[in-house]
Amino acid sequence: MTIVEQPAATRALLPEPEPHRVLGTGAAPDARLWPELYRLLVRGRRLNEQATALTRQGRLAVYPSSTGQEACQIAAALALEPRDWLFPSYRDTLAVITRGVPPAAALGLLRGDWHTGYDPREHRVAPLCTPLATQLPHATGLAHAARLRGDDVVALALVGDGGTSEGDFHEALNFAAVWRAPVVFLVQNNRYAISVPLAAQTAAPSLAHKAVGYGMPGRLVDGNDAPAVLTVLREAVAHARSGGGPTLVEALTYRIDAHTNADDATRYRPPEEVAAWRERDPLTLLARDLRAHGLLTDETERAARADADTLAAALRAALNTDPALDPLDLFAHVYATPTPQLREQRDAR
């Protein structure tokens, strides 16, 4: 009665002891990809700043910034083909935008004129998901459905370190592994769930270690190293696409801003810690390598910023106009055909 698969097979599911890194390792740069990554990082940072500013001006109800996590956001979007699906959590507006959803539409939920500002089917991006980890079983189910239909579609789902504690995380990963569904789970471990630090969230050696309990590979990556995140995600997506089943990727990163504009992060984390992570800013890390290889000049840097400023200005303009609101919309989409009860309520308005 030999029960456990070969220890070697098990070892292959465990993450490597050190997170995968590319930047600063002397690895040869991809002269086409890296500058593009940099441009997207700059743009992402600028959008984070712009959205935060719009919140102060009352133009967004709330904004959970991904400043510091832009490498994960950009890589998540770039790892996918257009036909694939992205399942974002509530903090992942940037990934949604990078996937092609217009910024103002991506910010619909947080602006508050409607719950989802874009058509998920058009962009193959699920609604930004507020109830934590609940989008993960959707990703599993969608990936499974695509496979049942014989379509070449991979789903990539994002979740936070805190979200891994939810039962839905467990159930989604287990279903995915049993079904060998083409889905990739990316945990952005930014070390906090609002105020709760990682040590109060888990006692595991790493979150990637959870993978072995589902029989899928777990991978660790430096979440502030954009080429590294993209590499690992592309491998995981390719693995899924080729029928290899799901992968759990843990990206080690840090949330530089407060949880949202409504949060006061000084209550629960020391400024030194934030300062140390600022040193590892994904933009700085990439810029350093790019400059070392002569792939970033003052001029291209300026161009990247100008491009970002243009996008931010467009976003500002879009959000500074009041959205057209029709209270009757409240009744229009509850069911395909409103029930008589809903019609009555609508007509009584």
């Binding site: 719950h115 998920p120 089917r121 109830p131 609940t134 599993t140 189910g141 499974h144 459905a145 395909a336």
Partner: protein, 323 residues
């Protein structure tokens, strides 16, 4: 009734390749109530799939499948075992169409065997329909007859919105030789008068329909001519039929197995009263399960509405004291 449900599932699977069944033990075993008997063999284990044991996972995965365009039909093994999926149901299933302005409808059916009367132990006799009724975005449907089991389930699967399809456990073994399958597909939102009656109307659904029919029979002896109205769909609610009937008789008793307090009957009584106030000779009364956790098997008959309790409510309909 189990056979009619089985036939409805089979016909739906045959009619539409997008229909997929998911649940615990629905494949090889054919379900603990055998409602999916033979379907895995006929349509393959991917069309009628045994899942890991996790209800939020089942409903969540089904949601993702529906997002991709399939029409999943999920089985929750027992009513109380649907509760782990409650967040998925309330926060996603019920809301997905609305939150996306109609871009992402979920054609998803959740089959829930519900109610007691089968001698089940703890957690096997809940009537959870009040939770679903209070959740906008869901259709809530429950058949009381063999024909409706077929007709309403086919309609549920054909509906482009999520349907909680409540199957009265104790009617699984009911038969009706007058019904030929496939029966007619039934639209939602139409209550049916199972029995005409001039003096008062029993408003009911699901497992309590046969109880009310028996009560109406027994009432004859007491000199009351009672109508029995089977709601069939709780959401949408058939105000027109219910009110027409209650206005005609001027008296109504709502009968169901779920607990009374904040139960389905509260809504029914309140809306009937709002709409028929000046036609009512007496307040709308309720005969329901007590406000207690579902009892152990040896005591369940003291909890379930029966003919006596229905008749004693009818007797309290102020027959002397008319307005």
């Amino acid at each position: 009734m189990a056979q009619a449900l089985n036939r409805a599932l089979r016909d739906a699977l045959a009619a539409d390749p997008d229909v997929h069944l998911l649940g615990e033990d629905i494949g090889t075993l054919g379900g603990v109530f055998r409602v999916t008997d033979g379907l895995a063999a006929e349509f393959g284990p991917e069309r009628c799939a045994d899942t890991p044991l996790a209800e939020a996972g089942i409903l969540g995965a089904a949601t993702g499948m529906a997002m991709y365009g399939l029409r999943p039909v999920v089985e929750m093994q027992f009513d109380a075992f649907g509760y782990p999926a409650f967040e998925q149901l309330v926060s996603h299933v019920a809301k997905m169409r609305n939150r996306t302005r109609g871009a992402l409808p979920l054609p998803l059916t959740v089959r829930v065997p519900y109610g007691g009367g089968i001698g089940g132990v703890e957690h096997h006799g809940d009537s959870s329909e009040a939770y679903y009724m209070a959740t906008p975005g869901l259709h809530v449907v429950t058949p009381a007859t063999v024909a409706d089991a077929y007709g309403l389930l086919r309609q549920a699967i054909a509906t482009d919105d999520p349907v909680v399809f409540l199957e009265p456990k104790r009617l699984y073994w009911s038969r009706d030789d007058t019904v030929e399958l496939p029966a007619t597909v039934e639209p939602f939102g139409r209550a049916v008068l199972r029995r005409e009656g001039a003096d008062a109307t029993l408003v009911t659904y699901g497992p309590a329909v046969p109880v009310c029919l028996a009560a109406a029979d027994a009432a004859r002896e007491a000199g009351w001519d009672l109508g029995v109205l089977d709601l069939r769909t709780l959401v949408p609610f058939d105000d027109a039929t219910v009110c027409a009937e209650v206005r005609r008789t001027g008296r109504a008793v709502v009968v169901h197995e779920a607990s009374g307090f904040a139960g389905p009957g509260a809504e029914i009584a309140a809306r009937v009263t709002e709409r028929c106030f000046h036609h009512l000779a007496a307040p709308v009364l309720r005969v329901t399960g007590h406000d207690i956790p579902y009892p152990p098997p040896m005591l369940e008959r003291h909890h379930l509405p029966d003919v006596d309790r229905v008749l004693s409510a009818v007797a309290r309909l102020q027959w002397e004291d008319q307005v």
